[in-house]
C-alpha cells in the first residue's frame, strides 16, 4: 500500500545522490580521516570496476547477503556500464578515540547513481534475514536504524541513509549531529562542521587523489590505536622492528598524510608522509625500512622510505587491487575504507 501511495506524492526535483563534504563527519576530537574517491572519468577506476564485475559474474568473488540482489543483477546482465554510470563513489572513515582506548569509527559511503539498487541494499541492511525490521528512531525524516549488537567496538551500531549516503555511526547522537550538517533545516541553513586539529589538517590536504587522508597524533592517539591493533600484521611488524622501537616511533610521529592513486586495474601507488619528532626522524625512517620486510610481497611492492628533516616519506605500490576491493566489499560497506 505504501509503495502504491508513494507514486502519487509531489515534492522537489530528483537527482543523483550528492557527494557529501567528508569534513562533515569530523568532530573536534577526531584524529583520523580517510577518503576513497572513485570518479566516473577515471580510466583505471573503470578498468578496475570491470574486472571486479567479471570476478563477481564468474563466481570468483562473493558479496555480502545485503548486496546479493544487486550483485546478481549486475552479474547476470554483465552491466559494467551500469557500475560506471553509478559513479562517483566516495567512502569516508573518520575515527575518534573512546575512553577505553579503542577507536570509534564513523563511515559514510556514497554512490551517486542507481539509487534504486541502493534501496534494495539499504532494505537488506535494516532488517534481519526474515525481513523483521531492526529498531529505529526518526530524526528529521531520516530513520536511524540500530544494528544488532556486535562485540567488535570498531563496528558501527547505527545505519541511516542521509541524502542517499549510507551513514554508519557509533551511536544515534552522532548520526543526528551529522544529519544536521548534511541536511539544511527549514531556514535553509545547515549546522557548521566541527573545528579542531584534524579539521585544520584536513583543510590543507590535497584532495585530488583516488584515496587520501590525514591522521594526527592527538593525545597519543597513534599509540593507543597501535595497542588496539593486535592482529597478525602488526605482530609481524613488531617482530621485525622490535616492540619498543615500534612504540617509540609511533609516539614520535605527530601527523601522517597519505595519497593513493589507482594507475591500472591491478595496481595503486601510495605515498605516505609522516611528520616526526626531528630527533626521532632518522630512526623512524630506518624502522620503516626494516618493517617493510615483514609486509606481504603479494600485496605491497616497490616500497621506498626517505627522510628529510622531520619528514619521512614512504612510497609503495599496492598490487592485487581487484582482490583487495572485493575483499572490502565482502566485508560490507563498513569495510569501505
Amino acid at each position: 500500500m505504501l509503495a502504491v501511495t508513494l507514486v502519487a506524492i509531489a515534492a522537489g526535483p530528483a537527482s543523483r545522490n550528492p557527494i557529501p563534504d567528508p569534513a562533515s563527519l569530523i568532530e573536534a576530537d577526531s584524529y583520523s580521516i580517510a577518503v576513497v574517491m572513485a570518479r566516473a572519468d577515471d580510466v583505471p577506476i573503470q578498468n578496475l570496476l570491470k574486472s571486479a564485475l567479471n570476478a563477481i559474474a564468474t563466481g570468483k568473488a562473493k558479496l555480502p547477503a545485503s548486496m546479493a540482489q544487486a550483485s546478481d543483477y549486475l552479474a547476470q546482465n554483465n552491466r559494467a556500464d551500469m557500475l560506471i554510470d553509478g559513479l562517483p563513489f566516495q567512502g569516508v572513515r573518520v575515527d575518534r578515540l573512546q575512553a577505553s582506548g579503542q577507536t570509534s569509527p564513523t563511515y559514510a559511503s556514497t554512490l551517486s547513481g542507481w539509487r534504486g539498487l541502493q534501496v534494495q541494499v539499504y532494505n537488506g541492511l535494516t532488517a534481519d534475514s526474515a525481513g523483521k525490521p531492526y529498531p529505529s528512531t526518526t530524526y528529521r525524516r531520516n530513520d536511524i536504524v540500530t544494528l544488532p549488537a556486535n562485540s567488535d567496538p570498531t563496528l558501527p551500531t547505527t545505519v541511516s541513509k542521509v541524502n542517499g549516503t549510507f551513514l554508519f555511526t557509533p551511536d544515534a547522537t552522532e548520526t543526528k549531529t551529522i544529519i544536521d550538517r548534511l541536511v539544511p533545516k527549514e531556514d535553509g541553513k545547515s549546522a557548521p562542521n566541527a573545528s579542531g586539529a584534524l579539521a585544520s589538517a584536513w583543510a590543507s590536504l590535497d584532495k585530488s587523489a583516488d584515496a587520501y587522508g590525514v591522521a594526527i597524533n592527538n593525545k597519543g592517539a597513534f599509540s593507543t590505536l597501535l595497542k588496539s591493533m593486535n592482529n597478525e600484521y602488526t605482530d609481524k611488524v613488531r617482530q621485525t622492528v622490535g616492540s619498543d622501537r615500534l612504540d617509540k616511533g609511533v609516539a614520535a610521529t605527530k601527523m601522517a598524510t597519505w595519497t593513493v592513486n589507482v594507475v591500472s586495474d591491478d595496481r595503486a601507488e601510495a605515498v605516505a608522509i609522516l611528520k616526526v619528532d626531528p630527533a626521532q626522524a632518522a630512526d623512524v625512517a630506518a624502522m620503516f625500512q626494516e618493517g617493510q620486510k615483514g609486509l606481504d610481497a603479494t600485496k605491497i611492492t616497490d616500497a621506498t622510505v626517505t627522510q628529510s628533516g622531520d619528514t619521512v616519506t614512504i612510497k609503495f605500490a599496492v598490487i592485487g587491487l581487484q582482490q583487495l576491493m572485493l575483499d572490502m566489499l565482502a566485508k560490507g560497506f563498513t569495510g569501505g575504507t
Binding site: 505504501l2 506524492i9 509531489a10 522537489g12 539509487r115 534504486g116 539499504y122 535494516t126 525524516r141
Partner: protein, 743 residues
C-alpha cells in the same frame, strides 16, 4: 533480482491467471458487492476520522518523493508494461516454476521498456522495513478505534462471502483492517480530526439501501445535467426509519438536503421547521436537475420558459419558498435558473430554484461556414468509439479471473474556459464477476484545429483521478500534477485526432473553399454549466473579398438532442452562386423515367436550365428569373424546344419520415410559357396547364443527393453521420443542415 519487483509481477500474474473455480451466482455477487461497499465505507470512516492514509503517506522519505518526481512513464509505456505481463503469461498452472520463468522473461523487458534509469527509480519507491513497520503500527492503532473495529468486522463479513479466488485477490485490501489488539501500541498518535461545517444544499440524488443496511446517494449524469460522471456519497445522519421506508436496493429519486463533502452527504437536521430533508420525487414523468437560461412567461403563477438547448424549450411553473420568491422577483424577466424540474404529462414544475443573471453568448466572426456540435453528439461519438474499440479498451477474456473494461468515455465543456474541453473516462475492474473497483479519470485540454487534425493539449494541473466504487475517493490535486509529470512529454503534447487525409482535397476541388480557409478554421466553445446548452463551434473564415454580416458562432443552431449543425451564411452562398453558377450553365436535369412519357408518345428526356438568376436571402433561394428548355424525343426524332420562364423561391426542408429526408422545395410566383405548342393553345388551356404545374411543383419534394450516409470508420464499423434535417433561417439569413450519428 529484486524481490519486490518479483512480488509485483507475481501479483499481476495471479490476477491474470485463468479462472478455474465456478463463478458466483447473481445473488452472491449482489451480496458481495454490498459487503464490499460496507467494508470500504467503514475504512473511509476510519480514514476520515483519523487521517490514516495521510499519516502513511507522510512516512515517505525525501528520496522516495524525489524518485516519484523523477519518474517518467508515458501512457504508451504503461500500456506496454501491462501487455508484457499479459503476453508472457504461461499457459499452464501458475506454480513456482512458471512464476520464476515469467519473472526471468519479464524483468529484462521491463527494464528495456523503461530504460535503466527509470527502472532504478521504480526500485527507489519500495518502502524500507522501518516504513512498513511504522505503517503497520498506524494501522494497528486504527484497529483499536471503534471505527477500526467496525471495519474489521466488515472485512470478516466480506471475506466470508468471497470465493477463494476472490479472497486471494482481495486479501491485501482485506488486510487493511486489522484485528484489534488488547492494548494500543505505544506512542498512539491517532486523534480524531474535524472538518469545518459547510452549508447544506438540496440536490437530486438516487437514494439506495444495500443489503448490508448502508445508505448511498448517487448523483447520476442521466438526471443531473450539471454532472458528467456519476458520484456516490455515503449517507450519514437522517431519520433511519424514513430512509428505510423510502430507499430500495435499486434506489429512489429524492431531493436530499444535506452537506455534500468528499464521499459523504450529511443529511441536514431541519427539525420541525422548513421542508423535510428528504423529499421523494414520485409518480410518472421525468425529473432532472440543471441550470438553464429562462424567461418569465407568467408572473402568477410564476412560470418560465427554459431554453434547454438543442432547440428544446420547456415551460415550467416554479414552486418556491418565500425566500426563493423574493429572489425570483429580483431576478427580472430573463435569467439563468438552477433547479430540479419534475416533468409530468400535464405540468412541469421547477423546485429548489436559484437565480443568476444571464447574458446571451455572442462571438461575432466573419465566417464562411460553421459547424456546431452539441455535447451529447460528442458523447454519442465517444461511446460509439468505445463500442468500436472494446478490445483496445479492455482486457480479460471469458476464462480470465480479472477483467477490466472502460465503461464510459465522453467530453464536457462544463467548468472549462472557452476553447477548452474536459475529456473523461470511467473503467471497472472485476474479479470472478464481482466489480471490485471503478475509477474515473478526467483532464481538461485546450482544443485546437490546424486544418488536418483536432488536438487536445492537456492544461497542466487538470488531470484528476478518483475511485467511485466501492467508495468515492478523490486523489489530491497535487497527485494529478505528479502523474502528469510522470507521463512526461507524450502526455503533455496532447492527443491529436487526424481527419481523413483527402478531405481537404475533396473540399477545395469543389472550388467553394480554399485550403487557406480550411487551415484557418477556428474552434470556439460555449462552456455552460448545464451539459444540454454547451456546444462547440468550428468556424471557417470568410473568403477574401466576400462581405457579409458577422456570424454569432455561439448562438446555437442545433435543432435536436444529439445533433450537429452545418451553418452556411447568406454571403457564402451568394458568393458561391456568383463564382460557380456561370460555369455550370446550362444545367441539364434528367427527367425521371416515369415522368418522361407525354401525350401522343413524345418523351421529355431532359430539362435544360438555360438562364438562372438566383440569390440567397432571408433563408431561401430567390429565383428572379429561370428559363427552361425541354429536350424531347419522338421516335427517331429529337429536339430542343423553349419551355418557360419563371420566378419564385426554393428552400431546403426535411420530411417527416424516419429517418427524415432532406429535400428541395420550389415555389413558383410567376410563370411565362415559351413553348410554341403551349402558346398555340387557348388561354383557358394555358391557365389550366399553369395551375396544374404550380400544384405539381408545390407538392413535389426534390430528393437531394446529400441524403447519403457518411461512414466514420474511425469511430466504429457501423458508425455513420446521417442527415437529420435541413432548412433556412431568415434572421440571420443562413442555410442549415442537421446531422446525427447512427446507429
Amino acid at each position: 533480482m529484486l524481490r519486490k519487483v518479483s512480488l509485483l509481477i507475481c501479483l499481476l500474474a495471479l490476477a491474470f491467471a485463468p479462472a478455474v473455480a465456478q463463478a458466483p451466482t447473481r445473488a452472491q455477487l449482489d451480496n458481495q458487492r454490498d459487503l464490499l461497499q460496507a467494508y470500504s465505507a467503514r475504512l473511509m470512516e476510519v480514514n476520515d476520522r483519523y487521517q490514516v492514509f495521510q499519516k502513511i503517506v507522510d512516512l515517505a522519505s525525501q528520496d522516495q518523493i524525489d524518485a516519484v518526481n523523477a519518474l517518467r512513464i508515458s501512457p504508451t509505456q504503461a500500456m506496454d508494461l501491462l501487455k508484457i505481463v499479459q503476453q508472457n503469461m504461461p499457459s499452464g498452472p501458475m506454480d513456482d516454476a512458471a512464476m520464476k520463468a515469467l519473472q526471468k522473461t519479464v524483468q529484462p523487458q521491463m527494464e528495456q521498456l523503461l530504460g535503466s534509469d527509470q527502472f532504478d527509480l521504480i526500485l527507489q519507491l519500495f518502502p524500507s522495513p522501518q516504513q512498513k513497520a511504522q505503517a503497520d503500527a498506524i494501522m494497528a492503532e486504527a484497529a483499536n478505534t471503534p471505527e477500526g473495529q467496525a471495519a474489521y468486522k466488515a472485512s470478516q463479513a466480506l471475506s466470508a462471502a468471497l470465493t477463494p479466488d476472490q479472497r486471494s485477490f482481495l486479501q491485501p485490501y482485506l488486510d487493511l483492517a486489522k484485528a484489534p489488539t488488547a492494548a494500543a501500541p505505544e506512542g498512539t498518535t491517532l486523534a480524531p480530526s474535524t472538518a469545518p461545517a459547510r452549508p447544506a444544499v438540496r440536490n437530486l440524488v438516487n437514494l439506495r439501501r444495500t443489503g448490508a443496511g448502508d445508505f448511498f446517494a448517487d448523483v447520476l449524469p442521466d438526471q443531473n445535467y450539471l454532472a458528467h460522471l456519476p458520484r456516490t456519497y455515503r449517507v450519514q445522519g437522517g431519520d433511519p426509519n424514513t430512509m428505510s421506508a423510502l430507499a430500495t436496493s435499486s434506489g429512489i429519486t429524492v431531493r436530499l438536503l444535506g452537506t455534500y463533502e468528499g464521499d459523504v452527504v450529511s443529511v441536514a437536521n431541519v427539525g420541525l421547521l422548513g421542508s423535510p430533508a428528504l423529499l421523494a420525487v414520485g409518480g410518472s414523468g421525468t425529473v432532472w436537475h440543471g441550470k438553464l437560461p429562462a424567461r418569465v412567461v407568467s408572473a402568477n403563477p410564476p412560470t418560465v420558459e427554459l431554453d434547454a438547448g438543442r432547440g428544446q424549450k420547456i415551460t415550467a411553473t416554479l414552486e418556491m419558498s418565500s425566500k426563493e420568491q423574493q429572489a425570483f422577483q429580483a431576478a427580472g424577466q430573463s435569467f439563468t435558473v438552477e433547479g430540479t424540474c419534475w416533468m409530468a404529462s400535464d405540468k412541469n414544475t421547477l423546485y429548489d430554484v436559484e437565480f443568476t443573471p444571464y447574458q446571451a453568448p455572442n462571438q461575432a466572426v466573419q465566417a464562411a461556414a460553421l459547424v456546431q456540435v452539441s455535447e451529447d453528439f460528442f458523447n454519442h461519438a465517444a461511446n460509439e468509439f468505445l463500442k468500436g474499440h472494446k478490445d483496445k479498451l479492455s482486457f480479460g477474456g471469458p476464462t480470465d479471473n480479472l477483467k477490466f473494461r472502460v465503461t464510459d468515455i465522453g467530453l464536457t465543456f462544463a467548468g472549462c474556459q472557452p476553447g477548452q474541453a474536459r475529456v473523461f473516462g470511467m473503467g471497472v475492474l472485476s474479479h470472478s464477476g464481482l466489480d471490485v473497483a471503478s475509477a474515473q479519470v478526467e483532464l481538461t485540454g485546450t482544443v485546437t484545429f490546424n486544418g488536418t487534425s483536432l488536438t487536445l493539449a492537456p492544461v497542466p494541473g487538470t488531470l484528476a483521478a478518483r475511485l467511485n466504487y466501492p467508495v468515492f475517493a478523490q486523489a489530491p490535486a497535487n497527485w494529478g500534477t505528479t502523474l502528469e509529470t510522470i507521463m512526461g512529454p507524450e502526455y503533455a503534447k496532447g492527443f491529436a485526432f487526424a481527419l481523413p487525409a483527402d478531405y481537404q482535397d475533396q473540399l477545395t476541388k469543389t472550388g467553394l473553399v480554399t485550403a487557406d480557409q480550411i487551415n484557418g478554421i477556428k474552434l470556439e466553445t460555449l462552456p455552460t454549466e448545464d451539459r444540454r446548452t454547451a456546444l462547440a463551434s468550428l468556424s471557417m473564415p470568410q473568403a477574401a473579398g466576400v462581405a457579409g454580416p458577422a456570424t454569432n458562432v455561439l448562438q446555437s443552431r442545433i435543432q435536436s438532442p444529439g445533433e450537429c449543425a452545418v451553418v452556411v451564411p447568406e454571403a457564402t452562398i451568394n458568393n458561391a452562386i456568383k463564382t460557380k453558377l456561370p460555369g455550370m450553365m446550362p444545367i441539364m436535369i434528367d427527367v425521371p423515367e416515369n415522368m418522361q412519357e407525354q401525350q401522343g408518345g413524345v418523351k421529355f428526356k431532359q430539362i435544360e436550365i438555360a438562364e438562372l438568376d438566383v440569390a440567397y436571402a432571408n433563408g431561401a433561394f430567390k429565383i428572379n428569373n429561370c428559363v427552361l428548355n425541354v429536350h424531347w424525343r419522338y421516335g427517331i426524332f429529337a429536339g430542343v424546344e423553349p419551355g418557360m420562364k419563371f420566378s419564385g423561391s426554393a428552400t431546403l426542408a426535411s420530411t417527416t419520415d424516419n429517418p427524415p429526408q432532406v429535400v428541395g422545395r420550389l415555389t413558383i410566383d410567376q410563370v411565362t410559357f415559351l413553348s410554341p405548342h403551349v402558346l398555340a393553345m387557348s388561354q383557358q388551356e394555358q391557365d389550366d396547364i399553369k395551375s396544374k404545374l404550380l400544384k405539381a411543383v408545390a407538392d413535389y419534394n426534390l430528393p437531394l443527393a446529400s441524403n447519403q450516409k457518411f461512414a466514420i470508420p474511425a469511430l466504429s464499423d457501423q458508425a455513420s453521420l446521417v442527415p437529420a434535417g435541413a432548412g433556412g433561417t431568415s434572421a440571420p439569413s443562413e442555410l442549415l443542415l442537421q446531422g446525427r450519428l447512427a446507429p
